[in-house]
């Protein structure tokens, strides 16, 4: 029978099917961080049971960590307590732990791929919704709650009903300054934040095939923002090249047998999807959000839509604009920007820093802007130095912080003050997400860079050198 990519990976991990209930799904690799794991470990303790396969779980500290002076003790006692809990739990159960300062430390979804934990055809979970990132490799990867973290620790399985399948096809070529982030924000703006609820999405077509692994990760990362359980892409030569030689990836004879399996991971030609959606790459502009969910995005040259044209409730829409202090019909270009955040598991990889540097090179940071540039991991940080990007950034008046989730969810000190506007490369513009009262405009690293040097929302196409475009 013909199968989709998703079916192939899912079906091969089902330990047991429960009648009129969920599937028991085996999890190959499990990532944990300090925030959603302590109660799960406590659960094990209360039940008096061990971690079944500690070698399949990897722990890092990222959500809660400072992005400055990481060599000093963490100031906030609650954060410090959570970090200590993770360290103790990891050492008690024999789980590899990459804490602050460790060369492999970084945002959980950045370090998974970097270290070869993320491989095609695997099932990967983590107590963070953007686990969908790992789908870029042809893995089934999704976020879980703390009860499920406990399940995976205890039994290496979770119980999930099998989601429906959706395929999003985008062909054609992308316009100047349109990045993977813009493609994702475009899809979400068309589908809304609940448009893919209940589905697992496969991305297919030229636009995704032409993307780098980093770009594919950005797209899969944002799958959750349209409500999908996760998103994935068929692995290809680019994928295999990326994985080859990484520390936890298979090697030697294991590599050959893994490759034989990985090459079967595509949707059969006549596989059936529950829903199929097509877009044209040429229709996509650099994007920016104006509201308080990631579906409230427009092409940067457009104005804020009128409430009547929105499908959802008018009252909810108006409440959202009121929070942003924006009005219907206003242009996005020229809007005031106080903060710029480059980072997160959405756009905190080396390619994102290269894009940012391309625009700020030879320019100066605008005086009215506070910029937080936060690499996704120590490895990304090292690459930024090695490639000379750090010099470009410094010359333009920027400084680099230390890795972590930072202002993506503002659990540490990196909070955007109430009422201020931040152009952010992260993934959520919910009320208060980046700090109580903070106002977030989601965008690509290019749009963030353009805002950082002009001090307002600016079309990045105006700042790109023609030959670089």
């Amino acid at each position: 029978m013909s199968k989709t990519l998703f079916d192939k990976v899912w079906d091969s991990h089902v330990v047991r099917k429960i009648d009129n209930g969920p599937d028991v799904l085996f999890i190959d690799r499990h990532l944990v961080h300090e925030v959603t794991s302590p109660v799960a470990f406590l659960g094990l303790k209360n039940r008096g049971i061990p971690v079944l396969y500690p070698e399949r779980t990897f722990a890092t500290a990222d959500h809660n960590t400072p992005t400055r002076n990481q060599h000093l003790p963490v100031q906030d006692p609650l954060s410090a307590n959570q970090l200590r809990a993770l360290e103790n739990n990891a050492s008690e159960h024999g789980i590899p732990y990459w804490g602050l300062g460790h060369e492999k430390n970084g945002i959980v979804h950045v370090i998974g791929p970097e270290n070869g934990i993320t491989v095609p055809g695997a099932t990967i979970v983590c107590g963070d919704s953007h686990t969908s990132t790992h789908g870029a490799f042809g893995a089934i990867a999704f976020g879980i709650g703390t009860s499920e973290v406990e399940m995976v620790l205890a039994t290496q399985c979770i119980m999930q009903p099998k989601p429906k399948r959706m395929r999003i096809n985008i062909n054609g070529s992308l316009n100047e300054a349109v990045t993977p982030k813009d493609v994702a924000l475009y899809i979400i703006s068309r589908l809304t934040t609940s448009g893919a609820t209940g589905y697992f999405v496969e991305y297919a077509g030229e636009v995704f095939r032409n993307m780098s692994m980093e770009g594919r990760m950005t797209v899969c990362n944002l799958s959750i923002e349209m409500g999908a359980r996760g998103g994935m892409m068929s692995p290809d030569e680019k994928t295999f090249e990326y994985v080859r030689g990484r520390e936890f990836a298979p090697s030697g004879a294991d590599w050959d047998s893994a490759m034989a399996y990985w090459k079967t991971l595509y949707s059969d030609a006549d596989a059936v999807f529950d829903k199929e959606i097509n877009f044209n790459g040429a229709d996509i502009e650099p994007m920016i959000t104006y509201g308080t969910n990631p579906g409230m995005g427009v092409g940067i040259s457009r104005s804020i839509p009128k409430a009547e044209s929105m499908e959802g409730g008018v009252a909810t829409y108006r409440k959202s604009l009121e929070y942003m202090n924006f009005a219907e019909g206003e242009a996005m270009i020229g809007k005031q920007v106080d903060f710029v955040f480059l980072g997160s598991c959405t756009n905190g990889r080396i390619e994102d820093f290269r894009a940012f540097a391309k625009i700020v090179k030879g320019r100066k940071k605008a005086d009215n802007v506070t910029a937080w540039l936060v690499p996704g991991s120590h490895k990304v940080e090292a690459a930024i130095r090695e490639e000379g990007i750090l010099d470009v950034l410094r010359e333009a008046g920027f400084e680099l912080r230390e890795p972590g989730c930072s202002a993506c969810l503002a659990m540490n000190d990196d909070k955007i003050p109430a009422g201020k506007y931040a152009v952010s490369t992260s993934n959520r513009n919910f009320e208060g997400r980046q700090g109580p009262g903070a106002r977030t405009l989601l965008a690509s690293p290019l749009v963030a860079a353009a805002a950082a040097v002009t001090g307002k929302v600016t079309d990045p196409r105006e700042l790109l050198e023609p030959e670089l475009a």
Partner: protein
């Protein structure tokens, strides 16, 4: 973590007629620093409920004593956003046992079922009738019957059935969680794992 069994719940309800209520509103990230599951109910809807100086915001529904009950009724796409189970804990710890909406975000729905909060999805029209009934009389009661999978708006007698998968239903009825089930099939899991490369 075990929770109370759920069978039939008859209660007044708290209305929150806002769409896309996300998990950052249900429980803001700065309250996720605990290492135990305690006290989350106090911070449910923290920033909608309290001013920065911790005084209650008068207009928010949880601060209005005429609205009480164990059922929270929310607008479409309730619980979107992050996978934080803390959102479901906060709802449970505050005292809600059931959330009614015309549409739920996936992970939130799952998390609710795992912690003993019953998510009941109704039609948009039924949701509207609930909001109207509560507006007319905050004392209006709902009856959520899990064995029969029905929800009834008692003042009008309007009734709808709702979906829940059979396995989860048994868990809710008995107050079981998934881990109990999985621990019972450990040998089967181990033999499966034996064939699965790391």
């Amino acid at each position: 973590m075990a929770y109370d069994k759920f069978t039939v719940l008859k209660s007044t309800a708290v209305p929150l007629p806002i769409e896309n209520v996300d998990t950052d509103q249900i429980i803001p990230a700065r309250f996720l620093k605990a290492t135990e599951r305690k006290g989350f109910g106090d911070n449910l809807f923290r920033d909608w409920r309290y001013n920065p100086d911790n005084s209650p915001k008068e207009h928010f529904v949880l601060n209005n004593p005429i609205y009480q009950g164990k059922i929270l009724v929310g607008g479409k796409n309730f619980g979107s956003g992050s996978s934080r189970e803390h959102a479901a804990w906060a709802v449970y710890d505050y005292g809600f046992r059931c959330v009614v909406s015309s549409f739920f975000a996936d992970i939130f729905r799952n998390n609710c079922l795992n912690v003993g909060v019953l998510p009941v999805q109704v039609s948009a029209a039924f949701l509207q009738r609930i909001f109207e009934a509560i507006e007319k009389d905050p004392g209006a009661e709902l009856e959520v019957n899990l064995p029969e999978q029905t929800i009834t708006l008692l003042p009008t007698g309007d009734k709808e059935s709702f979906d829940i998968n059979g396995y989860k239903k048994q868990n809710m009825l008995n107050g079981f969680d998934d881990i109990d089930y999985l621990l019972n099939m450990k040998e089967e899991i181990k033999s499966f794992a034996g064939d699965t490369p790391l």
